[in-house]
């Protein structure tokens, strides 16, 4: 039986791990790197590139290099997040037939699950290379705050990559699993996960062979990329002031700037100041222009403190949701590359009243946790049981535009809640239900999962039929709906019009198209 790999499909970087000889191992690629950039490009001569190779040519081929596709997956084209991404991305985002965002590079248009699938396929090959055997099963992680559509799309991406996704687990929970395995003590921990594109905070209780999530919160559009963005904006404004030149329209300059900003940000985690040096950044009537400026830590902290404060607000809410106070939490675990920033560490330490635990590798711990969960699912080793929760309220839209909650957020999954529906007109033969996920009281502000139609209701006076509709959230956090007519005890026919996900046919088509490609990622 094939082994189960754990994949951390990150916004900026991805990582793959497996349990080998009873111990979790992070798998390096042939170049020796333990993480690979989540990037995909089509070179000028039509070659497909993934991972490090894609990143290396990103500057010269900005238009046809995709990064941070995770920020778009499962969203609608008109959503504010996609609009925001479109403003800064050098690659083109177009509207797909399902109102989903698609990416046009080379001469093709790719769906977001497809891009994610290509990256997953890369991680799959890295694992196969290392293990020397084919790999078909995986556990993939997602931000805890991902909604149903985003999870479905990630699962579809796995399918496209040729993987059977045994479980979608939440990133903080995976980290907690990796942290807690082998520990005997009972403790309450907070996992603060600030990655490239998303932020999650989870409060968990470990002990007695169980990892239980008490509460979770987050922001699926807040991460290291936003830090970079603030630095880039600062550099652009400074440069414009000094040289009178606005570099925003120059794709190559912007890509160089983005790279430099990211590097400067990382440097400032260990140094007090750094230099940003980009010669020949632009050309104008006066000749070649060079960019050379200093950036010090206080300036960086001033630029990003707003973002950090946002995260602390979520932490505050989550701790309250768990029914705890910060001093009742024993340890704080930091996950995600962005937590290397001293400002982040001090802000978290200040709020929690304790220094964060330093024993885990923030870039790898999520993949390790995923690998452990995968191993536990298929083997007899059941050291820890994972009790995770759904992060968002699940409910329906009422006729006056309100959101009626059926399964509250932070309910342990798998969960099920039933609700009895009836007709409002005599002889009504169908009832439409709009299912939403979110945290607002108003239906229109929440995310629409789909519209369900109960049809073939036998004719009866209004208010008489009793249809018991069950809403289920499975262990992946994915929603399904089933219905039963209480009078006849028959399964009621129910059709789903799920928004934003690919149909079976589309997935099949994409798999077939991608089979032809064998992607090089390391020369």
């Amino acid at each position: 039986m094939s082994r189960v790999i754990g994949i951390d499909l990150g916004t900026t970087n991805s990582c793959v791990a497996v349990v080998d000889g009873g111990k979790p191992v992070v798998i390096p690629n042939t170049g020796g790197y333990k993480t690979s950039p989540s990037m995909f490009a089509i070179s000028q001569d039509g070659k497909r590139l993934v991972g490090h190779l894609a990143k290396r040519q990103a500057i010269t081929n900005a238009r046809d290099t995709v990064y941070a596709a995770k920020r778009l997956i499962g969203r609608r084209y008109e959503s504010p997040e996609v609009r925001k991404a479109a403003e800064v991305c050098p690659y083109e985002i177009v509207r797909g037939p399902n109102d989903d965002p698609r990416i046009a590079i080379g001469d093709k248009t790719f769906t977001c699950p497809e891009i994610a699938g290509i990256i997953l396929r890369e991680m799959k090959s890295v694992a196969e290379e290392y293990l020397g055997e084919p790999v078909t099963d995986a556990v993939i992680t997602v931000p805890a705050y991902f909604n149903d559509t985003q999870r479905q799309c990630t699962k579809d991406a796995g399918k496209i990559a040729g993987l059977e996704v045994l479980r979608i687990i939440n990133e903080p929970t995976a980290a907690a699993l990796a942290y807690g395995i082998g520990k005997q003590s009972e403790e309450k921990i907070a996992v603060y996960d600030l990655g490239g594109g998303t932020f999650d905070i989870s409060i968990l209780e470990l002990g007695d062979g169980v990892v239980e999530v008490l509460a979770t919160a987050g922001n699926t559009f807040l991460g290291g990329e936003d830090f970079d963005r603030r630095v880039v904006e600062y550099i652009l404004d400074e440069f414009q002031q000094r040289e009178g030149l606005d570099l925003r329209q120059d794709l190559m300059a912007m890509q160089r700037l983005k790279d430099a900003a990211e590097k400067a940000k990382c440097d400032l985690s260990s140094m007090a100041n750094t230099e940003i040096n980009l010669p020949f950044i632009a050309n104008d009537a006066n000749g070649a222009r060079h960019l050379n400026m200093e950036l010090d830590r206080p300036t960086l902290e001033r630029l990003v403190s707003g973002i950090v404060n946002e995260t602390i607000k979520s932490v505050e809410q989550c701790v309250a949701d768990a029914g705890l106070t910060p001093d009742q939490i024993d340890h704080v675990v930091l996950v995600g590359g962005q937590t290397r920033t001293p400002l982040v560490q001090s802000a978290v330490a200040e709020f929690m009243g304790k220094t964060p635990h330093r024993g885990v590798n923030p870039d790898e711990v999520v993949a390790v946790g995923a690998a452990i969960q995968g191993h536990m699912l298929v083997s007899e080793d059941r050291d820890l049981l994972l009790l995770d929760v759904t992060p968002l309220d699940l409910g329906i839209a009422t006729f006056d535009g309100h959101f009626a909650k059926l399964i509250e957020r932070n309910t342990t999954v798998p969960a099920r809640k039933s609700h009895i529906f009836t007709t409002t007109r005599d002889e009504q033969s169908a009832v439409k239900i709009r299912v939403l996920q979110g945290t607002s009281d108003r239906a229109v502000e929440n995310h629409l999962l789909g519209e369900f139609v109960l049809s073939d209701i036998p004719p009866a006076p209004k208010g008489e039929p009793e249809i018991d509709v069950s809403f289920d959230i499975d262990s992946n956090g994915i929603v399904s709906v089933s219905a039963r007519d209480l009078a006849s005890r028959q399964e009621q026919s129910i059709t789903v019009n799920a928004t934003g996900t690919l149909s079976e046919e589309e997935i099949e088509r994409i798999i077939r198209e991608n089979e032809a490609y064998d992607l090089p990622s390391e020369s």
């Binding site: 062979g209 169980v210 699912l377 059941r382 049981l385 009790l387 342990t412 798998p414 099920r416 262990s475």
Partner: protein, 418 residues
């Protein structure tokens, strides 16, 4: 996990002492609620977790009442708990036995247990988890963890267990439900009430639960049948009922006195206690309706006042939120609507401001300020003709009102500008 070995403190059961009313002064709402739940059946461990008190504060309050002779402790035999769900070696109804399948990758004993639980999903939550009725939240959690490790579907992921995949899911979801409802003090208290007194006190304990349960046919109960079952188990001894009624009458008398003196909040808390002790008496509910209106008026007034303070402090959004809360109490009050309209205008939410201003005018058509403010909102929204009508009405009511006059001037300037 057994209840009998609990530390003495948790298993104590308080009841109201004779003559308690004479020794008891005015009660805060939290104290009133706690007092109404002392009935000689609910154990201390549960009382400390319900109501508006932090558990340690509830402890202090109860200790104080013990000292003051308001409350005394009952003699109580530790409640016999129904054996837990995971009885090994229990025999099932033959109809269920037929579902066992030795060829599955699931031990026969576990299959039996799953079938047993599934057949009796409607049994009381504490029985499902296998804990005594007075178990602490910690013990409930431990039981839940122990059962999760047995029945979580992940344990049998991908194993050949046939129909048991579905069964395990159903069983596990019920276990989660039991845990979540029993570990929340408010829902736990409600469940306790609906279950009535412990069977050990009013009926002989049934023999070994496994066999007894096995003869009950597994049925899917409709909601009505389920409620009827709950009602049948809800048996309170007659003298307890009589005591409660008497107490309720006392609280109602106190309510009448307080109402006559215009002390609305005190009257409200008294009549609420009366209803808590005797929910069937309609007279109390009517009394509540009367005082409710007054209490809401007082509440709304204080909220509007606080909103004014927020506005002065430069926080109109908070002011708006408070006004809307006040509207929740008195939606038909013109002054509250007017205040909300002002707040909304301050936060630039002109749509809401218009809604509230219109309501204020509708409810209080004789107040010049209502019309004047409506005119202002309409002017800001660019609806000049309507604004003009409103300001003219305002001036008709009170030609000298400064706000109305300045609004008229503002309109004239606007028109002149074209």
């Amino acid at each position: 996990m057994s209840g009998a070995s609990q530390a003495g403190a948790d298993a104590r059961v308080p009841r109201l002492a004779k003559g308690w009313e004479r020794r008891c002064g005015g009660l805060s709402p939290e104290e009133g609620f706690l007092l109404s739940r002392i009935d000689g059946h609910t154990p201390w461990s549960l009382l400390r977790e319900i109501g508006g008190f932090v558990p340690t504060e509830a402890d202090h309050c109860l200790e104080r009442w013990l000292e003051d002779g308001i409350v005394e402790l009952c003699e109580r035999a530790p409640g016999g708990s129904q054996p837990g769900a995971s009885d090994s070696g229990c025999r099932l109804d033959p109809a269920l036995e037929a579902n066992l399948d030795a060829s599955l990758d699931l031990p026969i004993e576990v299959q039996r247990q799953v079938l047993d639980i599934e057949a009796n999903l409607e049994r009381p939550y504490h029985e499902l988890l296998g804990v005594p009725r007075n178990a602490s939240t910690k013990d409930v959690k431990r039981a839940y963890f122990a059962l999760s490790k047995l029945y979580h579907p992940d344990r049998y992921f991908r194993r050949e267990i046939g129909s048991f995949h579905r069964r395990l899911e159903r069983v596990f979801k019920k276990i989660i439900e039991a845990y979540e409802l029993l570990s929340d003090p408010a829902t736990r208290a409600e469940i306790e009430r609906s279950l009535g007194p412990e069977p050990a006190e009013t009926q002989p304990a049934p023999p070994s639960t496994g066999a007894k349960r096995a003869t009950r046919k597994p049925q899917k109960l409709s909601r009505m049948e389920h409620l009827a079952r709950l009602r049948a188990r809800f048996k309170i001894p007659k003298h307890v009922l009589a005591e409660r009624k008497a107490r309720a009458r006392e609280f109602y008398d106190a309510f009448k006195v307080a109402s006559a003196r215009g002390r609305w909040l005190e009257a409200a808390s008294n009549v609420r206690l009366a209803i808590a002790f005797d929910p069937a008496e309609r007279e109390y509910k009517r009394g509540f309706g009367e005082v409710q209106a007054e209490v809401h008026r007082v509440r709304a007034e204080s909220l509007v006042e606080k909103a004014g303070e927020c506005l002065a402090a430069g926080a109109p959004e908070e002011g708006l939120r408070l006004c809307e809360e006040a509207l929740g109490y008195r939606p038909g009050d013109a002054a509250v609507n007017h205040a909300a309209a002002r707040m909304a205008a301050e936060t630039n939410d002109l749509e809401r401001a218009k809604e509230y201003a219109e309501r204020a005018v509708e409810l209080g058509p004789d107040a010049c300020l209502h019309h004047a403010h409506l005119a202002k909102v309409l002017r800001l929204r660019g609806e000049r003709d309507l604004a003009r009508t409103a300001v003219q009405e305002a001036l008709r009511l009170d030609p000298r009102n400064p706000e109305a006059r300045s609004e008229m001037d503002a309109l004239r300037r606007l028109v002149r500008r074209g």
